[in-house]
Symmetry: C2
Subunit: 653 residues, 2 copies
């Protein structure tokens, strides 16, 4: 029996091995693991599901007053890093803060229009939330404020309920209500450690959703860019195109078009330059403010507003007024605000968490998803009471922040101070700012959201992901933002269902010159063993797939036996199931295995298991399935099983 030497030869041959002698048998047994206490088992599941990041580890074994400070530090990370803060760090933060402030002021005014709010509400939302985030957030690079997609989302969902022009106060109250519930949703997800739920919006779905939202936002800007007065309230491409071309002969204003297109060209060129020479990132960062200043000056000089160029007119001076009394605490609009808030809160969170993770990976620090959600939630709850609408992390401003050399969240505080000064001092200067330049700022800001290379990569890597991406994209563009989201989530779920109902199985063969068994389709030179069929099951065996797996295994067997019959070779006597990827099995799975065993018995084929994991082994014993197959039919590796069984093949009929 030549196979017997295999492992013995290996003794002492490994790089870090110690010499072992095993006189009687070299075949390792798969032993039944020590039985777990029910409570321990339950605790493990709870821990891995909700507390896998061991959030309480730091508190263990500490005195109670130390613990109190640790809790404070956990809630307000600023207490942690403020102690080591110094002037050098502040220099970086100051420059970064000023840069993002110059970017955010014109964007805020523009985005507020997207949410159908007066311009000052955009500025309000860049004042209070960043301050709160600076104390509670754990990301060092994120720049907080209103963003285009969330503004659009709130704008379209809220105007479906209340007309913002006819009933501005009620509309604004609804927006604050939505902001409040967005904050509550975010806070609750973080507090109850349900942050993983946002992972269900897959990367692919977000790529499609963002691109669709960008197109939608861009199309909405045609109103400002072309100076159209009668514009549809719908966001789908067909209605918008209808609005645009229906007004071509009487609704367009050439002066507006000139302003809009020239500044759009300017902004896009600076964007291109910044992309090409990353050191010149500040060119595109200050371009919007420059555009606003130049455009405002031109309009003021030429009094183009008298020629029909729409201008901002009036921004209320002064900091955020209280709005706690404006939130709907009762009635039908409470429910509507709640619905809008949950959707907007989740989308805002998805964006912020993605940004936080990206920069944390680059600089290698840790962003705690659940803690971030609590911070975001708090800032939006407070925001809803101080006349802000939903704020979150902006990708473009965060990238500028990062490149401008920010070190900590102090950059957000600097930005917040600049916004404060803007509100207190210079809002009257925006009076003659033409809406067209705001439209061009928005368009330039959302262009990078249409991430075509990312879509191409999706296509290359995973067709199903591409489908989800396209579904979200076309849903948003042709129908509405909500429909696009719904499609994306549905396709993502379909993928999960497919995964859990139709796991893969593979026939294994031995790689020549090794004792390694691999998928014969992936490694065509792998050879099968006469009289033995080896099948690997690539998934946990649960009720959702147990029957499929059973039938699939039997079908592999039947096909193999047909082949063997045609070639006149001996029949299959052992069916080895490689269980390494089978991480768990439930009662339906055990049930299916019992049926499989029964069927195989009828066909005179022996069922052999290789390398079941701890949990599976435990369950196979608990269900007494091992007694049916025989304990000796469970091996540590396929190689062990083959070695033991192949000499017996010839003895069997």
């Amino acid at each position: 029996m030549s196979g017997r030497v295999t492992h013995e030869m290996e003794i002492g041959s490994g790089p870090s091995s110690r010499r072992h002698t095993q006189p009687s048998s070299h075949i390792h047994k798969v032993e039944r693991p020590p039985q777990q206490n029910l409570l321990t088992e339950f605790q493990t599941v709870i821990k891995e599901t909700f507390f896998h990041d061991e959030p309480l580890k730091a508190f263990q074994g500490q005195k109670s007053h130390t613990r109190f400070f640790l809790v404070l530090k956990a809630i307000f990370p600023i207490l942690e890093w403020a102690r080591s803060y110094n002037l050098e760090k502040f220099r970086g933060d100051l420059i970064a803060g000023l840069t993002i402030a110059s970017l955010c002021v014109p964007q805020d005014i523009a985005y507020a229009k997207l949410a159908n709010l007066d311009p000052q509400y955009g500025l309000y939302s860049s004042f209070v939330p960043p301050l709160i985030y600076a104390f509670m957030g754990s990301s060092r690079d994120i720049a907080i404020g209103p963003v285009a997609v969330v503004s659009l989302l709130i704008g379209t969902m809220a105007q479906n309920e209340i007309d913002p022009k006819k009933n501005a106060l009620a509309y604004r109250r609804l927006v604050f209500t939505a902001t409040f519930f967005a904050g509550v949703t975010q806070f609750a997800l973080g507090f109850f450690r349900l942050g993983f739920l946002i992972d269900f919006l897959s990367h692919a779905a977000i790529v499609g959703f963002m691109a669709g939202a960008a197109i939608t936002i861009g199309l909405q800007q045609l109103k400002g860019l072309l100076g159209i007065t009668n514009f549809t309230k719908k966001t789908d491409i067909i209605s918008v195109m209808h609005s645009v071309f229906g007004t071509v002969h009487h609704g367009w204003n050439w002066q507006t078009i000139v302003i809009g297109l020239s500044f759009l060209a300017f902004l896009l060129i600076t964007k291109y330059i910044a992309k090409k020479y990353s050191k010149l990132f500040w060119v595109s960062a200050i371009a919007p403010l420059t555009s606003v200043i130049i455009a405002t000056f031109c309009v003021y000089i030429t009094r183009a507003d008298k020629e029909g160029v729409a201008i901002v007119q009036y921004i209320k001076k002064g900091i955020n007024p209280s709005s706690a009394h404006e939130i709907y605490w009762t009635g039908d609009l409470l429910l509507k605000g709640f619905k809008i808030g949950v959707v907007a809160g989740l989308i805002a969170l998805t964006e912020a968490i993605a940004i936080g993770r990206t920069f944390a990976a680059v600089k290698d620090y840790n962003v705690d998803g659940n803690k971030e959600m609590v911070a975001m939630g708090t800032m939006n709850i407070v925001g809803s009471m101080t006349s802000c609408y939903v704020a979150t992390g902006s990708f473009s401003r965060s990238a500028v922040n990062f490149m401008a050399g920010c070190n900590t969240a102090v950059a957000n505080i600097v930005m917040s101070c600049v916004v404060l000064l803007t509100l207190e001092l210079i809002t009257p200067l925006f009076k003659y700012t033409p809406n067209a330049v705001l439209a061009s700022i928005i368009i330039a800001a959302v262009v990078p959201l249409v991430d075509i290379p990312a879509a191409i990569l999706l296509w290359k890597i995973d067709k199903f992901d591409f489908l989800a991406c396209m579904g979200a994209f076309f849903g948003v563009v042709f129908k509405s933002v909500e429909i696009g989201l719904l499609i994306a989530v549905a396709i993502s779920f379909a993928k999960i269902l497919l995964q859990v109902t139709r796991p893969r199985t593979a026939v294994l063969g031995r790689l020549p010159g090794t004792s390694v068994y691999r998928n014969v389709e992936q490694y065509p030179n792998a050879t099968t063993v006469s009289g033995i069929l080896i099948i690997r099951v690539d998934s946990a065996i649960y009720f959702s797939n147990s029957n499929y797996i059973k039938e699939r295994i039997l079908r592999w067997l039947s096909n193999e036996e047909e082949d063997l019959k045609i070639n006149g070779r001996p029949r299959i006597k052992y069916l080895i199931i490689e269980m390494s990827p089978v991480t768990d099995i439930d009662t339906s799975g055990i049930h299916s295995f019992e049926e499989l065993h029964k069927t195989l018995q009828n066909r005179d084929v022996k069922l052999v298991l290789a390398n079941p994991g701890a949990i599976v082994t435990e369950k196979l014993h608990a269900s007494e399935f091992t007694k049916k197959t025989g304990e000796d039919m469970i091996f540590l590796t396929v190689a062990d099983a083959i070695e033991m069984l192949s000499p017996r093949i010839k003895e069997l009929p």
Copy 2:
């Protein structure tokens, strides 16, 4: 370098090996698999999802008229087996058919009452459906007819819409409508090959649901058993108990109680005997009919009906009248019928498929789930037009059928003929049958549905399954059948979500004396390799878990490094991820791996992959992730990786 000998020693040592010589390197490369055509890829997914059983294989390469006969045979399996049918087989089928007929006649009358229908409708449902099933079904052992749980389900759901006493015709019409849509649902699931959807009702959930339904049914029978006249319409245990004990002083009828309890005792004793001595199965099979005959005779002699013993009174003579015109084709009741039909159809299907599979595994023949659904659907559609309500496979009668030695579906035809004779000739004889004996027949029939050993097994094997089981059970008992179902499905889905969001990871160590790497928690004697951390990820990496996996891996690393620091041992220089169980990765997964790679780079740890599968390898290449890690950092096995890397450990700082 002692490790180099490992595989070379193995050459020629395997049981079925051929001698290979590999002069340059013995480390196998994980090569990029040949790229798949998009169409092929798409076809593979569709095939594995919907046609994994290769239903069209038999038709390939046949002439068109042969193909026609094959299609006919596929639709009517009777054409297949009828040719080899002989007298000997008929003998078995005749005995089995007569046995199940004696069991089904009294059950049918009783179950019809459970569905709030007149007794003859139960008999109708045992006449037409079994005939149709015999021609179209592929199970040889199943016995078709009304069953207790589905009768209860229809009875409670339909009486929520229409009062069966006040408006018997409308109620009956609703039941036929529900039956029609139950059939349509079943047919559609089979025809569109969506049969796998019923697998989502897990075995555990069914155990709980059935037990709950059995208790509910049993409680309902207290009405008949105790002779209570004013009985609640609700099915939850609290309402029923209230009804029962509220009437204890004036509503109970002692003669009824005597009849009910004595026959219940008789039936349970025969059941016990049959269970103990399986050869005496016929004792319990004919017990219900015997009970009915004796009880009817006793009541007739003593005229106990005048003492308040409720009797059947009247069963309409003659075979099924047409009911096609009674189905609601329009209006509100169409929708309600549809809803009831879908639920009842799915439950009926679940029961029938489970029975079919169980007996098919025992006798080793193949039951095609999708074909079965088409057969069941057809029989219920036809049934709904011939005054039947939803029929399905009955577990108790199928078991009797099997034990009585049935060979083919002819047993169902025999039973059907006996029911025909009953309808035509002897229905008047049931006039004096007391309702109490029917109640005791139902109770005796549902007792085995409370499968306590199965629940104990669930507890032993899988706590989560036990939870689903108990959820379904208590939902049914304390609330209603639908709520119980809903709870069971929700818990089952929660389990799937848990599986796809929180997959397991494990640190691997080398089993002494082998080159096999296994979970150090399962095999405590496995030893880790200095400077290298090996982690196995136990799931496909998808958007739903990619971030968790990344964080979990980093946490393993941090914990390990803390330990090493305490012990003063060298830091981790290589992180090997064992990818064998990673059957697929999507773009979110790739994204997470890129972040992981970036973080590891910052910590000066090299990322190494072992044994990625074909699909994963392809995607790693497509996304150019392999370029980032370096192609040489992907190995066929962990052993290979260790062998190559451990000599380098010392060279690194």
